[in-house]
Structure formats: structure tokens, C-alpha cells
């Protein structure tokens, strides 16, 4: 199995968003976080190798690429934004990853009734919009879609400050919540209105499974 450091170095070379869109909360998942996540999912749980994997809100493809490198047989990345998908495609071509596939769609639309994507995937990954600004509750909406699409686990990232709320809400859905790790990274000032040069974010790496 590829070593964590090696995976991280592949991910460090990926292209980032050129002009990230505030309304979609676009920012690249930091390479060290994506590497930790993907490596853990395979090393601890075997949930990537040989699997059919979805990445909801794939953006520039950090998690999609990581899943492919860790041995997923087929990865499908979904995103709403053409610009992000263009960069994601370039990242896949640069690394000659043929096992990944991209679909332009609205994530919330994927789980409409009788969707053929329902319970299709072995594993679903996501780094959802955290639901700041005008997008309150977006992260849990994305997780709900993820749980519809997966017949196995859902692995996601959420702000540590929202942990209690996440656990309470997911438990009400009859879903098992496991906080696998607390990770931190510097979010550099991405948007014009960000006053500080960078801000420390603490995130929980969470595994959701339907009971």
C-alpha cells in the first residue's frame, strides 16, 4: 500500500481553484488532510481499494485523486461548477488517472426519489460546504445525500465547533457517527473579504454508517 508521505506528495502537485466562488464555499482540501483521510480509509477500513466510490462536491478533485491513488476501481466525482470540473479534469489527466469519472450535477438533486444512484456506491467521500454565509446547514444536507447514495460508509469533514450538533442530528436519523480524528489546517485568505492572512480551522474527520 502506498505510504502516507508518498500520497501527500502526489496531492501537493494538484492545481487549485483559479478564482474560488464564495457562494459555493470553494477552497481546496489541503493535501495533508486529504492524504490523511484517504490513507486512513484504506489502511484502517479497506473502504477504497477495489471499490466504487463517489466524491460529492469534488471541486478540483483532491479527494477524487486520493481515492484513485489508494486503489479505488472507479471513482465518480460530482460538482455543480464548470470551472472547478475543468481544473479537476486537468488534475486527473496530469496524473494519468483513468479510473475516475466526473459528472456535473447539483448534489442535492442526486438523491431524488428513484434515483439510480441510490445505494449504488460502496463508499462516499465528501468535504462539504460548511454552511457558512448564505449556506446554513449545507454540510448536513450533503451528508444526507451521501447516506442515500452509499450502501456502505460515508466519510466527511466538519468543523469541530459543530461536533455536538452533527452527532445529535445524525443520531436522530438512526445513523452511527464516529469521529475518527480531529485535524487542523491554515485556511489562507481565499476571498477578498477575508481580513486575516490566514485562519486556523479545526475539523473533525467523521465516519457515518447507517445502523
Amino acid at each position: 500500500m502506498i505510504r502516507l508521505k508518498e500520497l501527500e506528495s502526489w496531492l501537493q502537485d494538484l492545481q487549485d481553484f483559479e478564482s474560488p466562488k464564495v457562494a459555493l464555499e470553494q477552497y481546496q482540501t489541503p493535501p495533508h488532510i486529504a492524504a490523511h483521510i484517504a490513507h486512513t480509509i484504506q489502511a484502517s477500513f479497506g473502504d477504497l481499494e477495489g471499490k466504487l466510490v463517489a466524491d460529492l462536491g469534488c471541486g478540483c478533485g483532491m479527494l477524487t485523486v486520493a481515492a484513485a491513488i489508494m486503489g479505488a476501481t472507479s471513482v465518480v466525482g460530482f460538482d455543480i461548477d464548470s470551472d472547478a470540473l475543468k481544473i479537476c479534469k486537468e488534475n486527473l489527466e496530469d496524473l494519468e488517472i483513468t479510473a475516475a469519472e466526473l459528472v456535473q450535477a447539483e448534489v442535492r438533486q442526486l438523491a431524488v426519489s428513484h434515483s439510480r444512484f441510490t445505494k449504488l456506491f460502496d463508499t462516499v467521500l465528501l468535504n462539504p460546504p460548511f454552511g457558512t454565509k448564505c449556506n446554513q446547514g449545507a454540510d448536513l444536507e450533503f451528508v444526507q445525500v451521501a447516506l442515500e447514495l452509499s450502501h456502505g460508509p460515508v466519510y466527511s469533514l466538519h468543523k469541530t465547533s459543530t461536533r455536538a450538533h452533527i452527532i445529535k442530528t445524525a443520531s436522530r436519523w438512526g445513523v452511527n457517527v464516529q469521529v475518527l480524528a480531529k485535524l487542523r489546517y491554515d485556511l489562507p485568505n481565499t476571498y477578498k473579504f477575508h481580513k486575516k492572512k490566514s485562519v486556523d480551522i479545526e475539523v473533525d474527520f467523521i465516519k457515518f454508517t447507517v445502523k
Binding site: L85, K89, T98, A99, E101, V103, Q109, V112, H114, F117
Partner: protein, 124 residues
Amino acid sequence: MKLMTHNMLTSKGMKNVKEGFPLKIQAEEMRNVDIDYDRDFITRMIPKLDWKALVFAAQCVGHKEDLPDTLPEGYENDNELLKRLHHVLLEVEVVSGCLECPETQRKFPISNGIPNMLLNEDEV
């Protein structure tokens, strides 16, 4: 767009569409890629596929590759069939073209290998 993904795409989110499946493929540019054969994966995927829609899609893009019209019994033991299926599902890609809704004829464009399934506000 791989044919395995096509097997899952529908226009069902559109109002007045009952099934919206399968979408007709009008391919302009195609390409073939190499993916390692994972027999176990293919065998697991078969129950999730709509076989008729797969054969239809393969015909649309000229890649029917001797896929039988119906899935034969004992397919799990037919390695030759599984290999052909692997090729059709994962290695044949539509780079550009469009997907057409069978009920409304609405076209969903495919460019750079990516199908755009976004609906306009008035279509939902």
C-alpha cells in the same frame, strides 16, 4: 463519460418526465482508456446495471462488442463475458456529444468527457 455512469443517468428530475431513462447517446468524439481488470468488481456491479440500457448505450456508440441481448445465467463464471463487460463499462468513454431525454428530447451536453446534468429553473 463511461458507459457504467451512463447506466445511472436519467432526466427524471425534470417536470413531466416519467422515467427519463435510458438517455440516448449522440457521441461526437470517443476514446478508449486502459483500466486494470477487476473481476470481482465487475461481478458485483452486474446486479446494479440495467442490462437493456447498457446494450442500448453500447449500440449508440458502436461498441456492442458481442454483448448478449440478455444477461445469460451463470455469467459469474463466464470470464470472457466479464472481460468484455469490463471493457464496455469502464474503458470506453464519450469525450463529447450529448445525452437526449427519451421523453422530451432535451439534450444534456457532454464536453471534455463530463456530462452536464444541470437543469434550468423552469425545467424542475
